[in-house]
């Protein structure tokens, strides 16, 4: 039972990281009506930005996070302006291929400047005690180092690391904040309006290009946060670090109903849990195959995804 809970919390933590990434895919799809396949590589850039910042002696973790978020936000907005905006009225296939091109470009720039040698990312919670330790038959201990634990002779039955706790908490805070931003602020309403009818939104005086830029900025900032959380939990950083999580998060967005914000959250979390549980109980080699199988089954039963609307697309 405790091991199941342990897999579940790890799955939840991984899933909330996927959800953060999936939000970027789904918002950009909802508002700019394009699949930004370079989104995964933004994560990788965010990882390197934080890594380089943290490897200097003077840079504290919070500053590294801010640097990473800033780099990704600027990068996302610049990519949109340079690569996607000139294709605003081009056929979707041209935009899709451009996005794949941008993805390779980012990977290759990283290869050139950072080499293919994996970097070991220093966790943002390095040195912190685990969030929770549970010993068989004892009440759980919070924020306690193993060496300080009153049961240090026993083997803990369940440990929830600080990274896991941080991923889940940070993601929840961000998701609540994003939901409030979209539904309560003028800029958020403008995003909803653009998602539904770009022309009509313009007639309201909404600057559609500005709104699309804002969407890319938010999506890329979320990717940077996801990058730091993910690299803290899985500390290997290479130029390809972003591609698999990017694809899985894309699956999560489709799974939840692409274009839907709650859909991306639910899809991401479910995907993380499915991945972890199938790795734990079935086989770690075929966990991706299981993931895609679940996606196919969901799409057969509900072609628009879990939260997808039938005709109209929502942000």
């Amino acid at each position: 039972m405790l091991s199941f809970i342990s897999y579940l919390t790890s799955g939840l933590s991984l899933g909330s990281i996927y959800a953060l990434i999936a939000l970027g895919y789904t918002m950009v799809y909802g508002i700019a009506k394009m699949l930004n396949f370079a989104h995964g590589d933004i994560i990788m850039v965010g990882g390197y930005a934080a890594f380089i910042a943290m490897s200097t002696s003077w840079c504290p973790v919070w500053l590294a996070l801010i640097i990473s978020v800033t780099v990704c936000t600027v990068l996302g907005v610049v990519i949109e302006k340079v690569a996607y905006r000139p294709l605003r009225s081009a056929p979707p296939l041209a935009v899709l291929i451009t996005a794949i091109g941008v993805s390779y470009l980012l990977q290759n720039i990283a290869l050139l400047t950072q080499t293919a040698t994996p970097k070991t990312f220093k966790s943002v919670a390095a040195g912190a005690p685990p969030f929770m330790i549970v010993y068989e038959g004892e009440p759980p201990l919070f924020f306690t180092r193993l060496s300080d634990s009153p049961y240090k002779n026993l083997t803990p039955a369940l440990t929830v690391s600080m990274e896991t706790f941080l991923s889940i908490t940070v993601s929840i805070v961000i998701m609540v904040g994003l939901t409030l931003f979209i539904n309560k602020t003028k800029a958020g309403k403008a995003m909803l309006a653009c998602a539904e009818d770009r022309g009509a939104a313009q007639l309201m005086g909404i600057n559609v290009n500005g709104t699309i830029s804002l969407t890319f900025a938010i999506g890329s900032a979320l990717a940077a946060v996801a990058a730091v959380l993910m690299c803290s939990a899985y500390p290997q950083l290479t130029p390809y670090t972003g591609s698999m999580p990017g694809i899985r998060a894309f699956v999560a967005a489709v799974f939840g109903g692409i274009g839907s914000i709650p859909g991306a959250m639910i899809g991401g979390i479910l995907l993380g849990i499915i991945e972890l549980l199938s790795k734990a109980y079935i086989s770690s080699q075929i966990s991706d195959a299981i993931l895609f199988l679940v996606l196919i089954v969901v799409l057969i039963i509900r072609p628009t995804g879990i939260m997808g609307k039938k005709i109209n697309e929502k942000v």
Binding site: L192, A193, A200, Q202
Partner: protein
């Protein structure tokens, strides 16, 4: 100086010449009707004025200011609202949210609240349904919402594109009454309609468009008695 001055407007869709140099004026306080058959260029004219489409030639002046190159999202703040063809309300958002988006370019909250009250007074049904999503409204109610949304920007001129399209006869009369009322409170109206009879009955002046050119213009009452207009557009 006319409120809206259009001079030699030419618009192309690729190589297709949709507007072949049209010129007309809208004076402060008027209702002007643009009538014509499908494909005559009525909607293109409105889209070009608002800035959804770029003109290749010609100038558009609003209150003396050249707005030919202003994008659509800027012309709203200059006092021009556009009720698009097919209503295009935001179906997923509530009636209230739709109306508030109409006031997107305005800042003063107290003034916006005041305009909202006026819109609710004019359209009591929108007030009743303010929490409903716009997609659940009937066609006529959606038309009212689209008009109310345009009024929320406190425009000096409203462009209306086929407001009676697809509505039941009862609603058609109501919508035209509302347009007259809106005009009486000082808002200039540029109306595009296929229902030429109704449009001419409320307009001061009208222009007849045929394949991208203005072929006739004059007082609405005169045009109503014009043999050519009667035959082609009034079905008499």
């Amino acid at each position: 100086m006319a409120l809206l001055e259009i001079e030699g407007l030419e618009v192309y869709y690729g190589s297709i010449n949709a507007l072949k140099g049209i010129s007309f004026n809208v004076e402060q306080g008027e209702i002007i009707a643009l009538i014509g058959a499908n494909g005559a260029g009525k909607t293109t004219t409105l889209h070009t004025i608002t800035g959804l489409i770029r003109a290749k030639q010609g100038t558009i002046r609003l209150a003396g200011k050249d707005i030919t190159k202003s994008p659509a999202h800027k012309t709203v703040a200059m006092g021009m609202a556009h009720v698009p063809e097919g209503r295009r309300v935001f179906a997923q958002l509530s009636v209230y949210e739709n109306l508030m988006l109409g006031a997107y370019t305005r800042k003063d909250k107290a003034e916006i609240a005041e305009t909202l009250e006026h819109v609710y007074e004019r359209f009591p049904r929108l007030k009743e349904r303010r929490r409903q999503s716009a997609g659940t409204l009937s066609g006529g109610e959606q038309q009212m919402l689209a008009m109310g949304r345009a009024l929320m920007s406190k425009p000096s001129i409203i462009l209306m594109d086929e407001p009676s399209m697809g509505l039941s006869p009862l609603y058609v009369s109501e919508i035209f009454d509302i347009i007259t009322e809106i005009n009486k409170t000082g808002t200039t109206v540029l109306l595009v309609e296929q229902n030429a009879k109704k449009a001419l009955s409320i307009a001061n002046r009208a222009y007849v468009l045929e394949t991208g050119k203005i072929v006739l213009s004059g007082n609405a009452s005169e045009l109503m008695n014009n043999e050519q207009v009667k035959k082609a557009y009034l079905g008499e």
